[in-house]
């Protein structure tokens, strides 16, 4: 399947000389929710801004729905909705007017029924005639989403949709994202909350210092997290794993002093009992035992750390 958004060798060097993106490659599948995870200053917002046309690229290319964002900017941009990180709204405007304005700006004919319906979906139905300045912070964020959705885009970018919002609002934002996904909208959201990526994303891309370090299905990542490792320190050095002990997931350390057994902690049988009893039968003596588990956080920190020390 051709990706809905395709980013190739994208580079961005700001006038100050700071390289915010250094050759980003990223394909986004139609209908998925992709979480762009990264620390502050990683290049998340620059990447989104460049795709949306707010920032000009220094190199590389971007297509949206097969349209180049520079050469065919009209077709490409018509497919995109953007919810910025900051709450940028005209305080004196009415909700319905500012949302209708967005629709028109993107070249769509007025459709009051669609606008009403969407405001209802975003729990803003009774605020349509209110001025922006009368709304709470959470409502303003939803108005930004309504503006981004006003022209019925196929791809929605959410830049830190839950930064600095309370738990309840965060949950309701996640529900909104889920509803949109069910409507077939492709969603790319940036976040530095790992639990947010876990909660709503199909795939996770980790970005740091302008590089995409990893793009993986959340399930695969979760599986990696679901795995635990048992490390068995041995009294005597082994040159190879004895045949009686050989099994999937078991590895011998290079110096032969320890065995590492990787198992699925969520499974019914972990195989630990069998391994230990087999070791006893085979006469392999153990000196110490320890188990460890990696979380998305660990994977993330490791990746970012490796990148920084590289």
């Amino acid at each position: 399947m051709t990706p809905i958004v395709s980013v190739k060798d994208l580079r961005k060097v700001y006038a100050s000389g700071f390289e915010a993106l250094s050759g980003v490659n990223l394909d986004i599948k139609e209908g998925e929710v992709l979480a762009l995870l990264g620390p502050n200053g990683a290049g998340k917002t620059t990447l989104i801004s460049t795709i949306c046309g707010i920032t000009t690229a220094s190199g590389g290319s971007i297509t949206v729905g097969g349209y180049d964002t520079i050469a065919d900017y009209r077709q490409a941009r018509a497919l995109i909705g953007l919810v910025p990180q900051e709450i940028n709204l005209e305080p004196f405007e009415k909700v319905v007017n500012t949302v209708s304005f967005s629709r028109g700006l993107f070249g769509k004919k007025p459709n009051p029924d669609y606008i009403r319906g969407m405001l209802d979906t975003l729990s803003l139905g009774d605020k349509a005639e209110s001025k922006i300045m009368e709304l709470s912070g959470g409502m303003k964020r939803r108005v930004l989403i309504a503006k981004a959705l006003a022209h019925e885009p196929r791809v929605l970018f959410l830049d830190e949709p839950t930064a600095g919002v309370d738990v309840e609002l965060r949950k309701s934002m996640w529900e909104t994202v889920e509803k949109l996904r069910q409507d077939g909208v492709t969603i790319i959201l940036t976040t530095h909350y790992i639990e947010e990526a876990e909660a709503i994303a199909d795939r996770v891309a980790v970005i740091s210092k302008g590089n995409i370090l990893l793009v993986e299905d959340k399930e695969t990542l979760m599986a990696r997290m679901g795995q635990k490792q048992l490390r068995v320190e041995l009294t005597d050095t082994l040159s190879a794993i004895p045949d009686a002990l050989a099994r999937p997931g078991l590895e011998l350390s290079e110096d032969g002093t320890a065995l590492t057994y990787t198992y699925d902690a969520t499974g019914e049988r972990t195989g630990i009992t069998a391994l230990l009893s087999d070791m006893q039968t085979a006469g392999v003596k153990l000196r110490d035992l320890q188990t460890s588990q990696s979380s998305l956080e660990d994977i993330f920190v490791d990746l970012v750390h490796e990148e920084r020390s590289a």
Binding site: C52, G53, Q75, N88, E90, L105, F106, G107
Partner: protein, 253 residues
């Protein structure tokens, strides 16, 4: 052409104007009345005639130009500076619109507002003096062209400005002096020869002169030169705006 976008920008901007309609109406009426009281009645009573026209009537075109030029600049510069200031400009930059559509929307709305004010001033001046307009169509065309070209200039100022002080700077330091020294309240021929020569470097002279010609049939400079000047000014502004959107100057990082 994204006509829907032009319409949206235009109506959105006009809505702001209609919300403050009373203000938009009262302030030009009041200031025009004050000018007539001061210049027309107090000073005008001591001046016989200028080029065969009573002084009160003579200043009407200049008065309209003065307001229309400053209003066009402030409307257009504010119109584009405000989204920059509050951050809503992101939407404009990410929308499927080209520079011409954005300009037609914003500058069109700003020019409409100042055209309205120009007409209000003209109507108000009928309360004070007798005026017959020699070339009504030309008068209207000059008015529209002036509104448009100065709104274009205002648009550039709005993009250039980094804060509210800068937004006021150009109108205050450059435009107002040029308009006052551009023959709004006098004929260039009333000046000593040296100052006449200097005045011809002031672009406003050509606009005021052409506009006054449409009222009284007399002008400081030939009407064709006036048209050329306003056409050239409009073209320069358009080229600058085209360049701004092409390079993203002060708009895109």
């Amino acid at each position: 052409m994204n006509l829907q976008a032009i319409k949206s920008i235009y109506t959105f901007e006009m809505a702001r104007f209609f919300r403050t309609l009373a203000q938009s109406f009262i302030s030009p009426v009041l200031s025009t009345s004050l000018y007539f009281v001061v210049f027309g009645t107090a000073i005008g009573s001591r001046i016989q005639e200028v080029e065969g026209v009573s002084y009160g009537a003579f200043i009407v075109p200049g008065l309209i130009m003065l307001s229309v030029m400053t209003q066009s600049i402030s409307n257009a510069s504010f119109g584009i500076y405000f989204p920059k200031f509050i951050g809503t400009i992101y939407e404009l930059l990410s929308a499927p619109v080209n520079f011409l559509e954005i300009v037609v929307g914003y500058v069109g709305a700003a020019a409409t507002k100042s055209l309205f004010i120009g007409i209000v001033i003209l109507a108000t001046s009928y309360l004070f003096v007798d005026i017959t307009i020699a070339h009504p169509v030309a008068m209207f065309a000059f008015l529209v062209l002036t509104c448009l070209s100065f709104a274009l200039m205002g648009f550039i100022i709005g993009i250039w400005a980094g804060n509210f002080e800068q937004l006021q700077l150009v109108p205050l330091l450059i435009v107002t002096p040029l308009v006052f020294l551009g023959g709004s309240f006098y004929s260039i021929s009333m000046l000593p020869p040296v100052w006449q020569q200097i005045s011809y470097f002031n672009p406003v002279v050509y606009l005021v002169s052409g506009f006054r010609w449409s009222f009284f049939g007399t002008a400081d400079v030939p009407i064709a030169v006036s048209l050329l000047a306003i056409g050239g000014f409009t073209t320069i502004c358009l080229v600058i705006i085209w360049w701004i959107f092409k390079t993203g100057w002060r708009l895109r990082a």
